[in-house]
Amino acid sequence: MSWEVVIGLEVHAQLATKSKIFSGASTAFGAEPNTQACLVDLGYPGVLPVLNEQAVAMAVKFGVAIGAEITRRSVFARKNYFYPDLPKGYQISQFELPIVGKGQLTIKLEDGAEKVVGITRAHLEEDAGKSLHESFSDRTGIDLNRAGTPLLEIVSEPDMRSAKEAVAYMRKIHQIVRYLGVCDGNMQEGSFRCDANVSVRPMGQEELGTRTELKNINSFRFVERAINFEIQRQIDLIEDGGRVTQETRLYDPDKDETRSMRSKEEANDYRYFPDPDLLPVVIDDDFIAAIKAALPELPEARATRFAESFGLKSAQIETLVGDVDMAAYFEQVVGEGADPRLAANYVLGDLTGALNKDSLEIAVSKISAVDMAGLIKRVMDNTISGKIAKEVFEAMWNGEGGADAVIESKGLKQITDTGAIEAAVDQVIADNPQQVEEFKGGKEKVLGFFVGKVMQLTQGKANPGQVNKLLRDKLSV
């Protein structure tokens, strides 16, 4: 039997506010446990939540960017359950009236086709803290630094039909929130993560299969793997005569498998009700208009502009605009006077390679955009050849200074003095009479041999164009 896969995602994007959603404590990552948890985050008796307006603005910004409905009067609700990392015994979230309503996103599939994925809603909520089981032998530690961190939970319709589509959707959301500056997108730190609802049904069947929920997946790679594992597990189960049970499952990246966390029967009744400590969030036209007016350029618009202004290949553009920091870096390089095509080649080639090798983000590149432009300009004005440029890049990456400093200190300046090149050409011709005969006999390929010899002699610094021309002139005599 052939099966159809149905996937819906709940993406949790941590909003990039300085302070928490209901308190003044900092949201910075990586502090000592419990140093960024104030009395409100700790759920002390008598303290009350006060909504961070920045979080509201960021949620609306996301909604406006994807053309979704903005709820004019949204309500915070309490989701009640007991867990040690949930200090109040309830999470403040939104239930019946989320701040962002229906919307949609267009994703690009591998074959280049486009697909529209529906967005059901996006709501604001506070994150819980963290239980630390590893550091203690016989007890559990609790770190409440993360408690109260603002999250935007973006819920999709069950519109995706493969793990790859799910990844494409997740990447698209990631790209948008990063462009908007509402989330840093850092998946290692948990700022961007997702739950996946997965089910399968016989191809052509209308009714949805029983779904499982895969919790807390924090990388694009794991999303694909977890979903694929889960699809296969469900199909095997059904084909062996079993049934899928509705449950929450956890993906274990080390074992590459999902395993059951809790079934529907054990599921909590969260007893949602409107939080009486918070007023409804009322959003008026002016608020939306102001956010709309201040929206940054989004990926599609930027891609169009890059195509029009720089004449780049569409595959290059897609990669460049795919990441907001890379797009910004590229634009800065071009802005400093570098040729756009050369700039694209260097950013996507040497620079991306070096970043990947050192596992660095472009935002913390060891070569600044200004220095990168400096290097490209030396190629453009023939101070160095493309080949030498690789050496210069390497030295710049290793912190040996800007392009000019490296060229100077290593003596890599290209030789354009015709006399000097001519001397080298003459010597090479004199040293290799056999090859001269071959060339004269019509073996054009030998020219490359001569060029190589001349470059060797000039330590690669001779201008290749000039070398070629001189060789031809002299060998044709």
Partner: protein, 489 residues
């Protein structure tokens, strides 16, 4: 003889004239507490050293001429208000060991006004009760009759002020917890408009109903205290950003032509005859003061107790979830797994009434019951609020009894929660609608004080205090004090 004077104004005059010091006033309160409180049990904690230090500071302020009308006057806080560095128990074993790390807005506001807090008063556990018998620290006795309850949940504050242990105390009122004890002990008890006083630092019972207020001898005293407690506080999102008027300035306004609405539903079979008589007499007194009386109707009043006992438990079931033994307060000694720790901690540290309300609340919020109970209750709450709005289209103030009976005997209603709940049948509507209300002494029945309740429109505290003050200028019920047996007065 006590140095306590009849009201704040006289105390302030005496302080300024150097006839008495705040240290003397405070010392006198501490002495009276020592003498009488083993009988009354109105205090959970008393802080003599801190109180005397604050009194000394007040005396300095008075000497330097920087004193306000409340500077140097002793008082007590209901033990529901967090006060930095002091134990805040909320009348519960759960927080028996809890030392608040910060000041509530009410505590800091009154301290800034120069009042001297001598300690924290007893209360029903988590403010859940109408007799002060649910307190982990034992019941409070009514100074008018030690066999009887002073009411609750602010029973400790009421008994302490009625017995003259302190001139005033704070309270909180979720369904009548200031007004009912004020009525049963012959005091003036003010519950302001919801949002008038910040709830910051006040341990929550039912967030949409809780409101801090005062228990004083007179409306004039309440006017001064409210001025120091009220006002916008950005730490409480439900606190109203509405200017605070000078409540003392309008106390002497004439009541000529003011209209008083008397809901006929207040005078039902449940109202004890002596109470009914005292209240009717008080309304006559108002007519003599120039007010016009009109009969009005609150057709949904009978629904207020059932609605309250859905909404308040729902909110409390969630509000009290934070008491889980993890970060503060009581934790069980037993070492089981996590679920075991939660269950034992909460079973061992919460009393029966608190458990009953948490269970009721969890039930009305659960899937399948939410619509039938919680949502339905919210709709009826709106109807009750609408009833009051309709009345206020015709009248300035609504008047009636505060309680159906005078103080009842300790133990009398403890085994019948519904009878206990019905004690709040006249007070709950104001909480459901978020309106200000005040109870003032208006006579006696069975030799026990009777309370007259006045309800106003949103932020009409000034008018309520004005009405109360005018009545108190014409009568002396508020000046009557009990003789406490078991200790010389």
């Amino acid at each position: 003889m006590s140095t306590l004077l009849p009201d704040f104004a006289e105390m302030a005059r005496a302080l300024r004239a150097g006839k008495v010091s705040s240290r003397e006033l405070t010392g006198d309160c501490l002495a009276r507490i020592k003498r009488h409180d083993s009988t009354l049990n109105s205090f959970i904690s008393v802080y003599p050293e801190q109180a005397l230090a604050a009194a000394d500071a007040a005396d300095k302020a008075i000497a330097s001429g920087s004193a306000g009308p409340l500077t140097g006057i002793p008082m007590a806080h209901k033990d529901i208000f967090c006060a930095e560095g002091t134990r805040t128990t909320v009348g519960s074993k759960m927080l028996d060991n809890f030392v608040a790390p910060y000041d509530s807005r009410v505590v800091s506001g009154l301290a800034a006004a120069g009042m001297v807090s001598v300690g924290k008063t007893n209360m029903d556990e988590f403010a859940m009760g109408s007799s002060n018998e649910t307190s982990y620290f034992g019941p409070v006795k009514n100074p008018w009759d030690l066999q009887r309850s002073p009411g609750g949940s602010s029973g400790g504050s009421a008994a302490a002020v009625a017995a003259g242990l302190v001139p005033a105390a704070t309270g909180t009122d979720t369904g009548g917890s200031i007004r009912q004890p004020a009525a049963l002990t012959g005091l003036t008890g003010l519950k302001p408009t919801y949002g008038r006083v910040s709830r910051y630092g006040m341990v929550a019972f039912a967030s949409s109903l809780d409101q801090a207020g005062t228990l004083t001898r007179s409306a004039a005293d309440a006017a001064l205290m409210l001025g120091a407690m009220a006002g916008f506080d950005e730490r409480d999102s439900t606190c109203a950003n509405v200017p605070v008027p000078d409540y003392s300035a309008t106390l002497n306004d004439s009541l000529q032509g003011k209209t008083i609405g008397v809901p006929k539903e207040f005078f039902d079979d449940g109202l004890e005859a002596g109470c009914a008589q005292a209240v009717q007499d008080a309304i006559k007194q108002y007519q003599e003061l120039g007010a016009v009386v009109k009969e009005v109707s609150l057709p949904n009043l009978a629904m207020s107790v059932p609605v309250y006992y859905i909404v308040a438990p729902a909110e409390c079931s969630s509000n009290l979830s934070r008491f889980d033994g993890v970060r503060f307060g009581y934790r069980t000694e037993s070492t089981g797994d996590l679920a075991d720790m939660y269950t034992r901690t909460r079973s061992e540290a919460f009393g029966a009434e608190v458990k009953r309300r948490i269970m009721t609340g969890a039930y009305v919020l659960s899937a399948g019951y939410y619509d039938a109970y919680y949502l339905q209750a919210q709709k009826v709450r709106q109807l009750i609020s609408d009833d009051l709005s309709h009345c206020f289209a015709e009248v300035d103030v609504i008047m009636g009894p505060t309680t159906p009976t005078p103080a009842f005997k300790l133990g009398e209603k403890m085994n019948d929660p519904v009878q206990m709940y019905l004690n709040d049948m006249y007070t709950i509507a104001a909480n459901l609608a978020g309106l200000p209300a005040i109870s003032i002494p208006c006579g006696f029945s069975q030799n026990l004080p009777v309370g007259l309740q006045l309800i106003g429109t949103q932020f009409a505290e000034g008018l309520l205090l004005n009405c109360a003050h005018q009545y108190q200028q014409a009568t002396d019920w508020h000046l009557r004090t009990p003789v406490i047996s078991g200790g010389a007065a």
